[in-house]
């Protein structure tokens, strides 16, 4: 078994090489303590077992970014047997900068000249033999996207694994050499198979990781390194760091000069031509808008349509569970049945989004592979910079819900690529404010009830106010709690455009969907159990229980009386018999509803005939007179039973722990116009937003007239004014975050603290905003639409004001380092703990 580390600069096609070698046998985890993905794969070649780990893509191998530190820690701690360095053949010079640093480490390196096809197309001729000679290591040509060069690479690994030997590679640092040699003698190392020379170069570069490692055996290494550095700088009046970089670039230049011939040096590449339009001053924004709009249409809109086809599968699953669970005895529903249905509903609500996510993740993977992401950042950076965000915050915010609605889960998941830690966190924490798709039914209900005349305007307000709120929140956070977090300079490569590979896109899309299922759905189900308990207990009081029993008995007796003379009376002369017929009837109706085809209907009929031929007569009585009477009475019995069940449910909610919580909050929430019923709806919507509508709907459902819609019932019976509705809408716009989103926040920030912050900050904000508007509206007798306009204007104004405020710049020129409260300091702490 040999261990291989795959290293390379960003955009060198490292992941295509990884996929080419390891196929679909991949495992993704995080490096300890940080949110950097660690991808590993296992495969074998000619009885050689190989474990390969994909290091984060880095331009250099120093210590100035989290990724570089993580990559270096891996090499130091895990000691891979071979390093494979993937190099973009069409951009050799800059890539060699990293190659030199890897060659110095002391571990055998294989250089993979990837994207040879691109290089050839651009007329770049590379003399691989010559490079191999100069680098003193095997150099293989590949085209990862076409899977070319796989066998040669595997063969090289195999050959090298038989004789793991490092051929020392020395870059000539000229006037620095005496200083390197001097340090090399001072360093004491114990059975390190790392190159002494590399360690001494690293100490001269003041590499924290290496210095702290060496200080165990050479306690004063830091001072010695400092002295050598100062001696060099005083003698030659040159900066060591700059000198190292210049030497490496000069050496890369020498290799390129000797081994590379550019035949089409001055002709335009495809990327040059494409960027003339894509980044054109006038066309860039319209094209960006079109791309975002297309993504939105394809994923959210089309994906939503696909759920029409996948929903029956989930519904069938629900029916299957109901079939297994014990049946209701008229109005007595067993607790286990209630629980089962609740759990299936909770799971289905989340699983329903999978088609949307799959399309979305595939599209994001395509955008990433094509190379459009950094260009998006380039186009919009100026706007987002003002709010403490990064150009690359565009996509997460759009996915979170620009236009009519999105979902924060994929939005937050796509923040991974943002290089600036502070902007990334600010994006993660502001995406949940965007317009969530599952909130839309709630708005529709309220707007239908209170704003039927101004529905379009109100919907416009709701869907556009969210982006302003997200920006304000981002600005607030970056200038307060996130002020001291690590930021990264905006030095961003604009890589050449590439065609994405089908395999790469599919693997990534399924990977992310799987992550969603594994992490999010499982935890939401756990929370659903808690919520069920909160809604069920302590349950009905004994008087109420008696009351409902009497009610249902009265209905049954009434039914019984009507049936006395019926010729089928013997089939329905007891409560149990009636109950089982009623279950049979209801079940038939719900199953029949799922099929629209004639054959499907016949199938359902056959199944029910097989189950109970006598009962089936009452469902399709045809010309049988007595059976028709039963059919008619069954229908009314079914609706009467549902009414009682609904009443029981409301009574239960009212008495439940959640109901009590809703009541206990009333003193505060009444300032915003929320009574306990609304509180309960908001509380239950925490599990999944859909349930807010269900709860509110069921509380206000009118029991007298069955044909009245929930909207009308609410407008007439609730006693709310449009102002109440506005307060509710404002609260809903700002909150409540759903559990799924919170879990993703936890995954992406790797911290429960931020998750809790993401829960309670919006709630506070929401209640404050709702109270302010409701109070202002009441005292000034504003109409609903006036109050909403006021809120909208206030938010837009606030956005403009905070946008004009200069953001606190980390002073790069003066060299003031930010206090690193960032992920890295946490990582360092965890490393220290491990060492202890």
């Amino acid at each position: 078994m040999i261990k291989i580390a795959l290293a390379g600069q960003p955009n060198c096609g490292k992941s295509t090489i990884f996929n080419m070698l390891s196929g679909i046998y991949q495992h993704i985890a995080n490096y300890p303590g940080v949110t950097v993905d660690k991808k590993s794969g296992r495969f074998s070649y000619k009885a050689l077992d190989i474990e390969m780990v994909d290091l984060p893509g880095t331009y250099s191998f120093s210590s100035y970014s989290l990724e570089e530190r993580v990559a270096k820690e891996f090499i130091l701690n895990e000691r891979p047997d071979i390093i494979i360095n993937v190099v973009d053949a069409s951009n050799l010079k800059r890539n060699l900068y990293l190659t030199f640093q890897l060659l110095e480490i002391g571990i055998p390196v294989i250089v993979v000249l990837n994207m040879m096809d691109v290089a050839k197309r651009r007329g770049i001729d590379i003399n691989t033999q010559e490079i191999q000679k100069m680098l003193k290591c095997p150099v293989i040509e590949t085209s990862g996207a076409k899977a070319e060069g796989k066998n040669e690479l595997l063969e090289t690994i195999y050959a090298l694994s038989n004789e793991l030997k490092y051929h020392e590679f020395k870059l000539n640092y000229d006037i620095l050499e005496p200083y390197i040699e001097h340090l090399q003698k001072k360093i004491t190392v114990q059975n390190e198979n790392l190159s002494q020379r590399w360690l001494s170069i690293k100490t001269l570069e003041e590499d924290e990781t290496i210095l702290s490692r060496l200080s165990f055996l050479t306690p004063n290494i830091k001072e010695i390194a400092q002295q050598s550095k100062e001696a060099f700088e005083n003698t030659y009046n040159k900066d060591t760091t700059s000198f190292f970089a210049s030497t490496r670039y000069e050496s890369a230049d020498i290799i390129c000069h000797k081994c590379v011939k550019e035949n089409k040096k001055n002709s335009l590449t495809v990327t040059d031509i494409a960027d003339k339009y894509i980044l054109n001053r006038w066309l860039a924004l319209p094209i960006l808008f079109l791309i975002i709009f297309a993504i939105y249409q394809l994923s959210i809109v089309l994906g939503y349509k696909i759920t029409d086809y996948t929903w029956p599968i989930l519904a069938a699953f629900k029916n299957l569970v109901i079939d297994i669970l014990p049946q209701a005895n008229f109005t007595e529903v067993p607790l286990i049945t209630d629980f089962g249905v609740w759990m299936v509903n909770s799971a289905n609500a989340l699983l329903n989004y999978i088609p949307i996510f799959l399309i979305l993740f595939a599209l994001i993977a395509i955008l990433e592979d094509v190379g459009y992401m950094p260009r998006m950042a380039f186009i919009l950076d100026r706007v987002f910079k003002k709010f403490g965000l990064h150009g690359q915050s565009t996509l997460p915010l759009v996915l979170g819900g620009a236009f009519v609605g999105g979902c924060a889960v994929p939005g937050i998941m796509s923040t991974k690529g943002i290089p600036d830690d502070r902007a990334r966190l600010a994006t993660i924490l502001s995406v949940p404010y965007m317009n969530c798709l599952a909130k839309v039914p709630f708005y529709t209900l309220l707007l239908g009830a209170f704003f039927s005349a101004n529905m379009a305007l109100m919907m416009f307000f709701i869907s556009t106010v969210t982006i302003f709120i997200a920006l304000i929140v981002a600005k607030l956070l970056t200038s307060s709690v996130l002020k001291n977090r690590e930021t990264a300079p905006f030095v961003m490569e604009l890589p050449p455009y590439h065609l994405p590979t089908f395999k790469g896109v599919v693997i990534r899309a399924f990977e992310r969907v799987w992550l969603y299922i594994k992490k999010v759905v499982t935890i939401v189900l756990a929370v659903a159990v808690i919520l069920f308990a909160l809604l069920q207990f302590p349950g009905l009081s004994s008087e109420k229980q008696q009351y409902f029993e009497q009610e249902s008995n009265a209905i049954l007796q009434d039914f019984d009386k009507k049936m006395k003379d019926n010729s089928y009376y013997s089939l329905i002369d007891s409560k149990e018999k009636v109950a089982s017929l009623l279950n049979y009837y209801d079940e038939y109706r719900s199953k029949r509803m799922l099929t629209s085809s004639k054959e499907g209907a016949q199938k359902v009929d056959d199944a029910f005939i097989a189950r109970n031929q006598e009962f089936f007569l009452f469902i399709k009585p045809k010309t049988n007179k007595d059976a028709r009477i039963i059919n008619k009475e069954l229908r009314s019995l079914s609706s009467q039973r549902n009414k009682i069940l609904r009443e029981i449910k409301n009574e239960k909610i009212e008495n439940s722990l959640l109901g009590m919580m809703g009541r206990s909050m009333e003193p505060l929430t009444l300032y915003a116009g929320f009574d306990w019923k609304i509180n309960v709806a908001f509380l239950s919507s925490f599990a999944a937003r859909e349930s807010a509508v269900a709860t509110l709907g069921s509380i206000y459902e009118n029991n007298k007239a069955d044909n009245q819609r929930a909207e009308e019932a609410m407008a007439l019976n609730s006693g709310y004014t449009p102002l109440h509705a506005v307060a509710m809408i404002i609260f809903m716009v700002l909150t409540p975050p759903c559990i799924a989103t919170m879990i993703v926040v936890k995954i992406q920030t790797n911290s429960y603290k931020w998750m809790l912050f993401a829960i309670f900050f919006p709630i506070t904000l929401g209640i404050v905003a709702a109270i302010s508007i409701f109070q202002l509206g009441t005292t000034h007798a504003l109409s609903g639409i006036e109050a909403m306009t006021l809120f909208y204007a206030a938010v837009v104004l606030l956005t403009l004001i905070v946008g004009l405020f200069p953001s606190k710049r980390i002073n790069w020129t003066g060299g003031i380092e930010p206090k690193t409260n960032g992920l890295y300091s946490k990582y360092i702490q965890s490393q220290k703990k491990e060492k202890r």
Binding site: S242, A284, R382, V491, W812, T813
Partner: protein, 74 residues
């Protein structure tokens, strides 16, 4: 003259880098070493950041950072 003063389409040579710390390291890693030629390709649609060509690849910098790179126009 700062790099941010160079017009699109012109080439300049790096004279000195006034950045320190993390930014200096990042710039050095990306190949901003003294004597290197930089071509200014374009500005973003909203005038900031700017796109540059260096060592035959493309990179973008905010003007606030480009200002720290002293250049001589060629």
């Amino acid at each position: 003259m700062g790099l941010d003063d160079i017009q699109s389409g012109y080439i300049a040579k790096i004279v000195k880098i006034n950045a320190t710390g993390k930014l200096l390291h990042k710039l050095l890693d990306m190949g901003f070493v003294n004597g290197t030629h930089i071509e200014v390709i374009r500005e973003a649609p909203l005038y900031d950041p700017m796109e540059l060509k260096i060592h035959n690849y493309y990179i973008s910098l905010r003007k606030s950072e480009a200002k720290l790179i002293e250049v001589a126009q060629l």
